[in-house]
């Protein structure tokens, strides 16, 4: 049943969101089902609640983190939920008439119901985390509701401000709740409410308290977070009436009530809550006097009353809690009706400016009468509900003698606040309903449609009824609510109008008379209409937000300046730090063992490599030279591989070297031939970094080289021939032991070729220099044409030999590709050949498929991927031929390598004439 209660608004919100074709009226009626249905369900459990029972229901959601959907209706939840639904029902009715035909009723009601559901969920949450969930949902939906008139700048600003403040508070609340849950060991409300002593004694209590209060204060717009509420008045009036008087802003004080048993009772709590409440109470009341906007005045008044309620919860005495809850209800009724009246006035006159309004009692007598009653209730005039709770407030303020805050001070604050409340109520009354007729507005103002006024009438009737007969009307509800907070501590109290002549009554009288005098004085001595209230905090907020934005931009642009050099420097520095750290921490570099003498060849290659590297650095501005010089370093590296027993590496490095030089020069034709020097300071810095990096690497390398090695490779050597079927162990590792690496490697290679092709196919690139007509190279041509077939034979040889001697698919692919490159260099590409690219692409694709297919073939035979098979079948004439499945794999490698290099080189060669190498898939892509 509770699930249905909670699900109803959300389900209807979803339904309304889908009702694209429905009329406004249908939508409004559908929306009304939510609060009415909810009230009906709530009514069903009312007897149990009034008996003091707590109704529970649990739906598991994320038990792993203690986040379950626990619905728990006790007196407080019942009271608050009922308030939310009852006011909600009236708002729906009111809004049905309020909304302009241009407004999207669908969007409005869907969001409104979502909000309603969130509020309801908040009220009946039995799990604090879940409460946070609904809490934030109210922030989100209120953001959408405040910004409902999205075309209005003030609405957008107001919505963002509300979200920033209340949403931020929600995050703080989350933090507080997590801490609370950590202290208690559970997020379930029952457990937390039962653990008050434990919580208050815990070291994390202050942090948790402050975080939770941040949540409550921001939501209830307590000082200094109050500024968002007046700006939220840009919302449509039903929203203001609902969110900003009855429901959302009450969430904060509701939370104070909800967690009262756990959090209250410490000095810290009292000081924080009372002082915040008191400050809000007085300052907002003072500001309210000078508001010229009807809704603005009501907003500040709301702040003031929320301050009052907050103060009451801060006082912590059981009776103060009762008073707080009572005022919560009363405030909801009179303030909601006032907002609705304000909406009617706005609706009919077209303005909410008190300076232009006046004499409305003549134009719309009924509405005026209703509003005036509500205003008097707000002012705390006897016989109305506002008087009763304010009287209780005065009592508690005056009686708070044993608290940390002096009761005299509180008495004074309460009285001053009362005086100010009276004063702004009077201003509201006089400026709106008395005096001259409205100025500069549409004067055909009259009573609103009948049913638009009904909600106001109901609410005002409640004000009067409760004011006259509190014990009969509100008594049981209040008691149930108070029992929900206080449980067995519920005090005896008397909801009578007359308690005899006592201090609170005196304070009331002082308030009313003082307010009257104050207003009269202000009215006579100053021009209220001319004064603008300072918006210190709002301005401060704007400064903060703007400053935050500026700070963010500044910080981000300073850090993310788009410089590759900075990225690289940071990378180098990071590595240096991380590599150095262990040795700074005291680890030894390790003991060196005896080293080998440097052979003559070693010294020679050292010179070659070092000269090549340094020469490249020195000549890097003149790029052509640098490319040639770097070739020497590459040659040195290749020869080092030769000397150090790595023939396969030497071959590969040599061939790659040749291809790299070709690639660089092909690309350099499109790049500047020279580069400017950079500033000296930067060069010096980089040189130092380079020196540090280089020496670091050298030391680490040396440290590894001079220690013993125990590697898995020994077993590879042992298994290579019997199980791998070949004698070139490097090749067997490549195609068998670590064939998976090779598969990835040719994938990389293939992608590189495809990418080069993709990048150059559609690009319009032009060389840096223009050249005269082509030249013929007769003599080289003859040689190259002779060389190519021979080189192919060599490639086949290297491919076949690879498993036993240096060679293999990769090297063979290079040996095929490089002479082809030479062919193109010397003879040229000839006529454009669109099918060339297609063939090369197919070569790459088939190569990849061959490699993967070999692997998959093993699976077909029930072996793991890439398991090799080899044998020596006898062929006629030829004899025993060593055949291995890895040869197919290697063939794939060969095809990918040759295809890719050709594709890359051809793409580059044809870069200036994309039409000649394009061809594949062009029909699709352009």
């Amino acid at each position: 049943m509770l699930e249905a209660l909670l699900a109803l608004p959300f389900a209807l919100a979803l339904l309304i969101a889908c009702m694209t074709k429905a009329s406004r009226r249908t939508i409004a009626w559908t929306a009304a089902v939510a609060p009415l249905g909810g009230l009906a369900i709530l009514g069903l459990i009312t007897p149990r609640i009034l008996d003091g029972e707590t109704v529970r229901s649990t739906v598991e959601w994320v038990p792993a983190v203690g986040l379950d959907l626990i619905l728990r209706v006790d007196g407080l939840g019942w009271m608050f939920g009922g308030l939310v639904l009852a006011i909600g029902a009236l708002i729906v009715l009111y809004a049905a008439y309020y909304l302009d035909p241009r407004d999207s009723a669908r969007r409005f009601f869907a969001t409104l119901l979502m909000f309603m559901g969130a509020m309801l969920g908040l009220a009946i949450s039995g799990n604090l985390l879940q409460l946070v969930v609904f809490w934030e949902l109210t922030s989100i939906s209120s953001f959408l509701l405040i910004g409902f008139w999205k075309h209005r700048h003030d609405a957008r600003v107001g919505a963002r401000m509300a979200l920033a403040v209340t949403g931020g508070g929600g995050l703080a609340l989350l933090g507080g709740v997590v801490l609370l849950g950590r202290i208690v060991g559970s997020y379930e409300l029952d457990a937390i409410l039962a653990a008050g002593e434990l919580v208050r004694a815990h070291a994390l209590y202050p942090a948790a308290l402050v975080l939770i209060l941040l949540g409550a204060f921001t939501k209830s717009a307590q000082f200094p977070f109050s500024f968002w509420l007046p700006h939220a008045m840009a919302a449509p009036t039903p929203v203001s009436a609902y969110l900003h008087s009855a429901a959302m802003v009450k969430a904060g004080v509701f939370l104070l009530a909800r967690l009262h048993p756990t959090l209250a009772g410490s000095e810290l709590f009292a000081i924080l809550v009372v002082s915040t409440g008191a400050a809000t109470f007085v300052i907002s009341a003072l500001f309210a006097i000078w508001q010229h906007d009807l809704k603005g005045l009501l907003a500040y008044s709301t702040l003031s009353h929320l301050g009052l309620i907050t103060m009451l919860f801060g006082l912590s005495a059981p009776m103060a809690v009762v008073a707080g809850l009572f005022h919560m209800l009363n405030h909801a009724t009179f303030k909601a009706s006032l907002f609705m009246s304000a909406g009617i006035i706005d609706h009919e006159t077209g303005t909410r400016d008190l300076r232009r309004l006046g004499g409305l009692r003549k134009l719309m007598p009924v509405t005026s009468a209703l509003a005036m009653i509500a205003t008097l209730s707000m002012a705390g005039v006897p016989l109305l509900n506002g008087f009763l709770s304010k009287e209780m407030f005065f009592t508690e303020a005056a009686a708070a003698g044993d608290g940390p805050i002096s009761d005299h001070l509180l008495t004074l604050v309460a009285t001053v606040g009362g005086v100010l409340s009276m004063a702004y109520s009077l201003r509201f009354l006089r400026d709106a309903f008395f005096g001259d007729a409205p100025r500069d507005v549409a004067i055909n103002a009259h009573e609103p449609p009948r049913f638009m006024r009904v909600p106001v009438e109901i609410l005002v009737a409640v004000c009067v009824l409760v004011g006259l007969l509190p014990a009969f009307t509100i008594g049981p509800i209040l008691e149930a609510g108070a029992r929900g907070v206080l449980g067995p501590d519920l005090p005896d109290y008397d909801l009578a109008i007359w308690h005899g002549f006592n201090l609170p009554l005196a304070m009331s009288i002082v308030s009313l008379v003082g307010g009257l005098l104050l207003y009269a004085t202000l009215q006579r001595r100053t021009d209220i209409h001319a004064k603008q209230t300072p918006q210190v905090i709002k301005t401060a907020y704007e400064h903060v937000i703007h400053g935050l934005y500026r700070l963010s931009c500044w910080l981000t642009s300073r850090i993310e300046n788009g410089s590759l050099q900075r990225m690289m420097v940071l990378l180098v520095v990071a590595v240096a730090v991380m590599a150095l750290a262990p040795f700074v921490q005291g680890h030894a570099l390790g003991a060196a063992q005896a080293t080998q003498p440097l052979p003559l060849l070693g010294a020679l290659l050292w010179v070659l490599i070092v000269a090549g590297a340094l020469g490249t650095v020195l000549l890097h501005h003149q790029r052509m030279k640098a490319v040639i010089v770097i070739g020497a370093a590459g040659l040195g590296v290749s020869l080092a591989f030769v000397v150090l027993s790595a023939p396969d590496l030497a071959l590969t490095q040599l061939l790659v070297e040749i291809a790299t030089i070709a690639l660089m020069l092909l690309a350099m034709n499109f790049l500047p031939q020279v580069a400017a020097r950079e500033p000296r300071a930067r060069r010096l810095r980089d040189a130092l970094l380079a020196l540090a990096g280089g020496s670091g690497v050298a030391v680490l390398t040396w440290a590894v080289l001079t220690r013993p090695l125990d590697t898995v490779a020994g077993e590879m050597l042992a298994r290579a021939l019997p199980q791998g079927g070949g004698t070139n162990v490097v090749n067997i590792i490549l195609v068998d032991f670590r064939g998976f690496d090779t598969m990835g490697e040719i994938t990389v290679f293939a992608i590189a070729g495809l990418l080069v092709h993709a990048l150059l196919r559609t690009a319009k690139v032009s060389p840096e220099r223009a050249w005269p007509d082509a030249m013929r190279l007769t003599i080289p041509q003859v040689v190259v044409q002779l060389l190519l077939p021979l080189a192919i034979a060599v490639a086949v040889y290297l491919f076949l030999r690879g498993h036993n001697e240096p060679g293999g698919g990769f090297i063979a692919g290079l040996v095929l590709a490089v002479p082809l490159l030479l062919q193109y260099v010397v003879i040229g590409l000839g006529r454009p050949n669109p099918r060339l690219a297609a063939r090369v692409l197919a070569m790459i694709g088939i190569g990849l498929l061959l490699a993967v297919g070999t692997g998959a073939g093993a699976i077909a035979f029930g072996h793991p991927f890439l398991t090799s098979a080899h044998g020596h079948p006898a062929l006629p004439l030829v004899g025993h031929v060593p055949l291995a499945s890895v040869m197919i794999f290697d063939l794939g490698v060969f095809m990918v390598v040759a295809g890719t290099i050709l594709l890359a080189l051809l793409s580059l060669a044809r870069a200036a004439h994309p039409e000649t190498i394009a061809g594949v898939g062009d029909g699709d892509t352009r």
């Binding site: 959601w61 792993a64 983190v65 203690g66 986040l67 949902l137 922030s139 953001f143 999205k150 075309h151 949403g167 931020g168 995050l171 801490l179 935050l548 910080l555 993310e560 590759l564 690289m568 990378l571 990071a574 991380m578 590599a579 750290a581 262990p582 570099l589 390790g590 003991a591 690497v697 680490l700 590894v704 080289l705 077993e715 298994r719 068998d736 032991f737 670590r738 064939g739 998976f740 598969m743 990835g744 990389v748 992608i751 495809l754 990418l755 092709h757 993709a758 990048l759 559609t762 694709g845 990849l848 993967v852 093993a858 699976i859 793991p864 398991t867 594949v920 898939g921 699709d924 892509t925």
Partner: protein, 510 residues
């Protein structure tokens, strides 16, 4: 379940990529259909792997039927299976989105896409450090492919930085691998872990230095302060589907940190080599990325910073090095990859519906479908800020709950304040995109933008739906994440799983 399933996510996409390359001369619809069928198949495989790994067994698949330390072993545990599934899900969404038209503009797109998936899957599955490097390279170069194919102008420059930086990082990767091999004599992670545990004290300095270099490598890929500078521009300029898929690439860096520093460097003597650095740097990244989000001038830039933000939060989670924190992190990882990816797709939709303003967060030009896109944005924003009830909240809460008391004092404020900043940024962005004034002087002429078609929306909604599903089904996912985290915290099981794997072939012939 066939044991060969483990290799399918690698071999399958490579084969499919090759087939798609061979099919380029045919109608693009054929390639789209095949690609999507493939993507769905990888999801199926991912699910099967997750189901298979759910019991906590570590499945070692010996490629080439060699012992794990001689050949390359794939290792399927809960974590890697989860990552494969997440990648497959994100990939399918992105691919469907890309099929709406971008794949026409980018040559070889479908091949690149499948190969990128292969790289990601391979990196998640491999149990060999050098093989990890290889798959890093596969996915990187494939990512250059889907980033740069069809690119022009500024995107090329962003790509240049991305490529150059990553090539430099790859060099460092090799340095670290070399040093580790030089000291331990093996490349298999489990084998290396055992050898490191038994390493003489004299070797510890070198091992720690290599581990430090490796950490820089992973952190650069995962975009941790101060190594994240390459990310925002690259991601913000990437084509939508690529950027969306990139959302998982930073996560791969994080995965690698988690995997390598939980398994390989688990021995007491080296256990503290990574985490102490990551916590403060993660927090710094968290705050800076949040500031960056506030400062973002375009939706894609915002999205890029949110990717950073999520990575930072993950660093914090993983650095806490406790099962609940890691579990929260893993849940968040999957969620943020899906949501971040969806945001990039969404930004692209916005861009296409606003002719002049693109996805700039400046003065407004209305989108064609304000309600639809507005709702999508709302869901995305709620999810990414970490507001309830979407997974971002659950993850953030779970993380906060997992922060030990000792660190709560500074981590709580950091997480909460940065979340607030992100919220401000997203509220600002959303209200500017959807609530702005109409352009005072709307530019006329040209064909008006069209509403989004079904295909891209399907891709986007798939990701959104997964996100919502992650909230609804948070319990099983979180429970799985918790189990995965516990598995990571107890690497002995992983080592045992690899050690137990026996090749089918006999012993060395005498």
């Amino acid at each position: 379940m066939s044991p060969h399933l483990a290799v399918v996510p690698v071999a399958g996409p490579i084969a499919l990529g090759a087939v798609l390359l061979l099919l380029e001369r045919f109608d693009i619809r054929l390639r789209r259909a095949l690609g999507v069928v493939g993507a769905l198949a990888w999801i199926g495989v991912g699910i099967a792997l997750v189901v298979g790994a759910a019991d906590g067994a570590v499945g070692a698949y010996l490629i080439g039927d060699w012992p794990a330390n001689l050949g390359i072993a794939l290792a399927v545990d809960r974590l890697s299976a989860l990552m494969v599934l997440a990648t497959a899900l994100l990939g399918a969404g992105c691919l469907v989105y890309a099929c709406a038209g971008w794949d026409r503009c980018a040559p070889h797109f479908h091949t690149f896409f499948q190969l990128q998936l292969a790289g990601l899957f391979g990196a998640f599955l491999t149990g060999d450090l050098f093989n990890l490097f290889v798959f890093f390279e596969v996915l990187l170069i494939a990512s250059y492919g889907i980033l740069l194919a069809g690119a022009e102008g500024r995107r090329i420059h962003a790509g240049l930085q991305y490529v150059a930086f990553n090539v430099a990082v790859s060099v460092l990767f090799l340095v670290a691998l070399g040093l580790l091999y030089g000291v331990t004599g093996t490349l298999n992670m489990a084998d290396m872990a055992e050898r490191i545990a038994a390493a003489p004290p004299a070797d510890l300095g070198l091992i720690r230095a290599a581990a430090g270099v490796l950490l820089v490598v992973f952190c650069a890929k995962a975009a941790l302060f101060p190594l994240y500078l390459w990310l925002p521009d690259t991601y913000a300029r990437a084509p939508a589907a690529s950027a969306a898929l990139f959302a998982i690439m930073t996560k791969l860096g994080l995965y690698s940190v988690l995997r390598v520093y939980s398994v390989v460097f688990a021995a007491d003597a080296v256990a503290d080599v990574a985490w102490p650095w990551l916590l403060p740097l993660g927090v710094a990244t968290l705050l800076l990325s949040a500031f960056g989000a506030v400062a973002a001038a375009s939706l894609r830039m915002l999205a890029a910073h949110l990717i950073l933000f999520s990575a930072a939060l993950l660093f914090v989670a993983f650095a806490l090095d406790s099962a609940p924190a890691v579990a929260a992190g893993l849940y968040y990882l999957v969620h943020s990859a899906l949501a971040g990816g969806a945001l990039f797709l969404f930004a692209d939709l916005v861009r296409r519906q606003r002719r002049h303003r693109g996805d700039d967060l400046t003065a407004s030009e209305p989108v064609v479908q304000p309600t639809l896109l507005g709702l999508v944005y709302l869901v995305l924003a709620v999810s990414l800020i970490g507001l309830p009830p979407l997974p971002g909240f659950i993850a953030k809460f779970a993380l906060l709950a997992a922060i030990p008391d000792a660190q709560a004092g500074w981590l709580f404020p950091a997480v909460l304040v940065s979340s607030l900043l992100v919220m401000i940024a997203m509220a600002r962005a959303g209200s500017r995109l959807f609530w702005g004034d109409a352009d005072p002087e709307p530019v006329r002429g040209g064909t008006p933008p069209e509403p989004a078609r079904a295909l891209p929306l399907a891709g986007l909604f798939a990701l959104l739906g997964l996100n919502v599903a992650m909230a609804l089904g948070a319990q099983p996912v979180l429970a799985y994440a918790q189990a995965a985290a516990e598995q990571m915290q107890a690497p002995a099981g992983y080592l045992e799983g690899i050690r137990r794997a026996e090749p089918g072939r006999g012993e060395v012939a005498p």
